[in-house]
């Protein structure tokens, strides 16, 4: 698997960026967290590289706080919303999806109709309404984002497990008298997992964008906490005089989401047995091999 990752250079870079991001979010606030709140009006609103010292390479805001330090602290907030939201919807969605797909019948119909209802409405707007009702706290954002994204996993898990339910090895397990919950967890789940993880990587990107959009609109993370979206929104007021205030947090979002997308594209290839050969061939051969008709590849 590591060698397959190494073969795809963009995916390697993306994985490194995400690892770095996690490390920064976990350890960064411990190291320079205090700097994020250290105000110093003598160096307020300085452009990047204007003040000496690596803390100020990205400039300072109107209160003289280091933009870099604030970015690091905001990284933790952003991740602490995105990661739980993705995990909750992944677990809930895939469990219900596998259960519905395995049993078929009314259970499937009910689950899919509910998923349709949730998906038929723009999720951001739903989040706006819900967060306005229940005050915008990090916990509520996690819950509402998890809830609106459950159908994505539900659909994927249902489709795959419905297909698996008619396979021979599932039939065999059933004849041996295994309970349906055991069949789902022991036989269906391991096969569906790679697909679900791929979807989750892509969803990570979506959830991060949603959180920053909400924070930007003023109903996400509330000050004095910071998230990248909130930083963009706060910097917007100073766009004419201090462009770096909203440019760098936005760039951080872009780098993180693009990395997640690139990694998801790689994971989709790597977990699909029919496509994996694209990653194991050296590049020179790959170009010739790609247009090969489907039948010969199989």
């Amino acid at each position: 698997m590591w060698r397959m990752l190494w073969r795809d250079k963009p995916a390697t870079v993306a994985a490194l960026v995400l690892t770095l991001l996690v490390l920064v979010a976990v350890f960064g606030p411990m190291l320079i967290g205090d700097e994020a709140n250290a105000q110093d009006l003598t160096r307020a609103s300085r452009a990047p590289l204007e003040v000496d010292g690596w803390l100020y390479v990205l400039g300072t805001d109107q209160l003289g706080r280091s933009v870099l330090a604030r970015l690091v602290v905001a990284a933790r907030t952003t991740l602490s919303v995105a990661v739980p939201a993705v995990l909750i919807s992944l677990v809930v969605g895939s469990l219900i999806g596998m259960w519905a797909g395995y049993h078929r019948g009314w259970r499937e119909t009910v689950a899919m109709r509910v998923a349709d209802v949730i998906l038929s409405f723009p999720s951001l707007l739903m989040a706006v309404v819900v967060l306005y009702v229940f005050s915008p706290s990090a916990r509520n954002i996690v819950l509402v984002l998890a809830l609106t994204r459950i159908p994505i996993y539900l659909r994927t898990a249902r489709a795959e497990s419905a297909e698996l339910a008619s396979r021979l090895f599932v039939d065999a397990a059933r004849t041996f008298g295994a309970k349906s919950s055991a069949i789902i967890l022991r036989h269906v789940f391991p096969i569906v997992l790679p697909t679900l993880l791929t979807v989750a990587t892509l969803e990570f990107c979506f959830v991060m964008l949603a959180e920053s959009s909400l924070s930007f609109l003023g109903i996400g993370i509330q000050p004095p906490d910071v998230s990248w979206g909130l930083m963009v929104s706060q910097g917007r007021t100073y766009l004419q005089t201090a462009w770096w205030l909203s440019f760098f947090p936005g760039l951080a979002i872009v780098v993180a989401t693009v990395s997640a997308t690139v990694l998801a594209a790689w994971a989709r290839l790597a977990t699909d047995p029919g496509q994996r050969w694209r990653l194991t061939l050296p590049r020179r051969q790959r170009r010739r091999a790609v247009p090969a008709p489907m039948e010969e590849v199989r």
């Binding site: 349709d116 707007l125 706006v128 309404v129 306005y132 009702v133 930007f216 997308t261 247009p291």
Partner: protein, 309 residues
């Protein structure tokens, strides 16, 4: 054809009703409009009169029944803020959003077909990898950041485009549409590319090539037609997602559309307007889904036969 439409309508009506109920109940939980619309020192009696006049003192289920009765009669209530009929406000804002969304989708489809097919024609070439990377980036850039970076570069620094609002010249359209365009164009390009790669390696394309059709015709007539189906599904989802983008982009650019109307009415607890706007959006999405299903049928003979029976 009619059976098909009827079947589609019944399965999609349920989500529509659920959205209506959900928004009604959630909107009732956002707090008391009396506290917002009357001065702070209003007496309890004044608040009571305000609630009675607007039917807010009735039990929730009765408000709901009244509301549903009104919807059936196409009466969506009046705005608490302006006293105008809510439906009129929603309908007035609707064309502005529709213009934005339509232009964006048309541009996104054209761009993605051109770039996607070109990339798929030579898989793994430099152009292909560049197109893939660009489209992935475009699909994952936050729209609000694009919007204000666009404002910063083109309006503040270069001064060639207006920062917000709608004026007679087309210049005010450029930034909102460019912002909205990124995501759908990026996602669609990836889908078109994927579908075209598999279509171009299918047996019927080899047949067309072997009988001597020129490569341009193979791409446009044979492969594109078959690659259109998956692209259509995604285009539908993206069009729904455009409402998300419209909320953000409209509030940044001061575009008088339905997204801005919804945010404003949530913030001002203007229930009737919010419900009318949400219902209008939900109906539009519903119609869009039906249209997409019909397009499917037109594109794919296998679906068409099933649908027509």
């Amino acid at each position: 054809m009619l059976t098909f439409l009827r079947k589609r309508a019944t399965t999609s009506l349920l989500p529509l009703v659920a959205v209506l109920l959900g928004v009604f109940l959630l909107a009732r939980m956002t707090g008391d409009p009396a506290a917002l619309y009357l001065p702070e020192n209003a007496t309890e009696a004044q608040k009571e009169t305000f609630r009675t006049a607007n039917g807010l003192d009735l039990p929730v289920w009765q408000q709901l029944l009244d509301y549903l009765g009104g919807v059936v009669r196409l009466d969506f209530g009046t705005s608490l803020r302006t006293g105008e009929p809510a439906a009129e406000m929603a309908l007035r804002a609707f064309p502005a959003t529709l213009q934005l969304a339509l232009t964006t989708m048309v541009l996104a489809v054209v761009i993605s077909i051109v770039i996607g097919s070109y990339a798929a024609y030579r898989p793994n070439s430099l152009a292909d990898r560049l197109a893939s990377f660009m489209s992935m980036t475009a699909a994952s850039v936050p729209d609000f950041w694009l919007a204000i970076t666009g404002v910063w570069i083109f309006a503040v620094m270069l001064g060639v485009l207006p920062t917000s609002g709608v004026d007679a010249s087309m210049l005010s359209w450029v930034l909102p549409i460019a912002t909205l365009l990124f995501r759908p164009a990026g996602v669609l390009t990836q889908v078109v590319r994927g579908a075209m790669v598999s279509a171009l390696s299918a047996p019927y394309v080899r047949l067309a090539r072997s009988k001597g059709a020129d490569s341009r015709r193979v791409v446009t007539d044979h492969a594109l037609r078959n690659a259109a189906a998956p692209a259509l599904t995604v285009a539908g989802d993206l069009a729904v997602g455009l409402v998300n983008g419209a909320v953000v982009v409209e509030s940044i650019f001061g575009w008088p559309g339905i997204g801005k109307l919804m945010i404003d009415s949530i913030l001002q607890r203007d229930f009737a307007v919010l419900q009318a706007a949400v219902l209008l959006t939900a109906v539009t999405i519903f119609v869009l889904n039906v249209v997409i299903d019909l397009c499917y049928a037109l594109l794919d003979a296998r679906v068409r036969d099933k649908a027509l029976v």
